[in-house]
């Protein structure tokens, strides 16, 4: 007799270990799911790596743990010692992940947060006990970085891990995310991810190119919008130090802007295959779809994308439920990447 399908055990790899001694052991080893149903090209497969499965909910859990562990190895942070304070600029996910790690380790975290992030991002920082220092929303992440650098200079007693300049950021992806992707999808031809600090792209990109030099690395970024209006001259611009130090320009093969409307459209389309992910993941999927549509006829390709986080933190933006033009206007005013 054939068993009803709901009684069948799921196929695929099973983890041998189901018990963990720490939540921090749950970071990484995220699943990759076939998203090819969204591919516009039948010869191009698309896989999405679900980073929302990390315990604090995003790809940044990997970075936060790597930053803190590196500082502990270097003796900059000492677990259990009283009165240790960290400061970090973040528009959300790094702050949330660091807040979780710091809470567990007993460090006090101050996060410089632009005022225009979703309410859920702010609340999650508070959940894990981080102190929020506001930076002007119209200056975006650039403003948060600037303010954090000034505060860190004024308070040399605070530990400034500075994800934009700390090699432990790309290193988390070079030693974990990249190898996981290559192990799970060895036929990969293109890696498409978001560009913020550039940590994911540099770490995964370098690892993949070392394995297969022909792997194409595509960076997706949101439009800078109005935040660049405040710059007084071009030299006020900012390139993450890790990008310059690690030869980012040599690792990337393409860099494209995906606008809010397309980002939200693809965030919604992803629910067709059961993926409830954050808006930056929609932007990255839009980029992967553009990449797929540019593969010449007769050629095949395998794209791996990163779904940075899940959709929970963006419910208040109405991204899935409100009129799309209204949501797009809202998205132009908040940082969703």
């Amino acid at each position: 007799m054939k068993s009803p399908s709901f009684l069948l055990l799921p196929e695929g790899p099973t983890k041998n270990v189901a018990r963990y001694t720490s939540v921090l052991d749950l970071i990484g080893e995220t699943p990759i799911v076939d998203a090819s149903a969204l591919s516009p090209n039948p010869n191009v497969k698309i896989w999405a790596k679900l980073e929302g499965r990390n315990p604090a909910g995003s790809v940044k859990d990997r970075v936060a743990l790597s930053l803190v562990e590196a500082a502990e190895r270097d003796g900059i942070l000492v677990p259990g010692k009283a009165g240790q304070v960290l400061i970090e600029p973040s528009s959300g996910n790094t702050g949330i992940a660091l807040a979780m790690v710091c809470r567990m380790r007993g460090y006090h975290l101050k996060v410089v947060l632009p005022t225009n992030v979703s309410i859920e991002r702010r609340q999650l920082l508070e959940v894990f006990g981080a102190e929020i220092i506001e930076s002007p929303g119209d200056e975006g992440s650039n403003g948060a970085v600037k303010r954090a650098r000034i505060l860190a200079q004024e308070h040399p007693e605070w530990v400034f891990l500075y994800q934009y300049a700390n090699p432990a950021n790309p290193n988390a992806h070079y030693t974990h995310t990249g190898p996981e992707i290559f192990r799970d999808v060895p036929e990969i031809t293109h890696f498409v991810a978001g560009l913020g600090t550039s940590g994911t792209l540099l770490g995964v990109g370098r690892f993949l190119k070392e394995q297969k030099s022909a792997t194409q690395i595509w960076a997706i970024e949101p439009p800078t919008g109005e935040m660049v209006d405040g710059l007084r001259n071009l030299d006020d611009g900012y390139i993450p130090p890790i990008f310059a130090d690690l030869g980012g320009a040599e690792i990337l093969d393409r860099k494209i802007v995906v606008r809010p409307k397309e980002s939200i459209e693809w965030t919604r389309r992803m629910t067709e295959i059961g993926l409830f992910v954050g808006i930056s993941s929609g932007a990255i999927m839009a980029g992967a779809v553009r990449c797929a549509s540019q593969i010449p006829e007769g050629e095949s390709a395998t794209i791996v994308t990163i779904a940075c986080d899940d959709g929970w933190k963006y419910l208040s933006t109405g991204a899935w439920t409100d009129d799309i033009d209204t949501v797009v206007e809202r998205a132009k005013k908040v940082i969703y990447f």
Binding site: G140, S141, V228, L234, V257
Partner: protein, 93 residues
């Protein structure tokens, strides 16, 4: 080829306050040369003295960063939209 070039706020002063200018050229480099010839105040800002792109400037053709295409040799077509933008710390989680 006529393309529209969008200037960032910080460069508009040297371009008579205009946000978008229509220019001719067959490549990004040629369009930018015409831009600087038209508005000499922009000299040295977008393209450095050594003829390369200023590292704090990103130039996009229809949302594609030309640094990862053919840089200043990237060909342009009629109706393309070129944007000149300062490099800033983007979204970043």
């Amino acid at each position: 080829m006529t393309v529209s070039v969008r200037l960032p706020t910080v460069l508009r002063v040297q371009a008579g306050g205009q946000a978008v200018v229509e220019l001719d050229g067959t490549t990004i480099g040629k369009v930018l040369t015409t831009l600087v010839d038209t508005f000499p105040g922009l000299k040295g800002q977008v393209i450095s003295e050594d003829g390369t792109l200023n590292k704090f400037v990103n130039i996009y053709i229809n949302d594609d960063d030309v640094r990862y295409l053919q840089q200043l040799d990237t060909p342009v077509s009629d109706g393309d939209e070129i944007s000149i933008l300062p490099a800033v710390a983007g979204g970043a989680h």
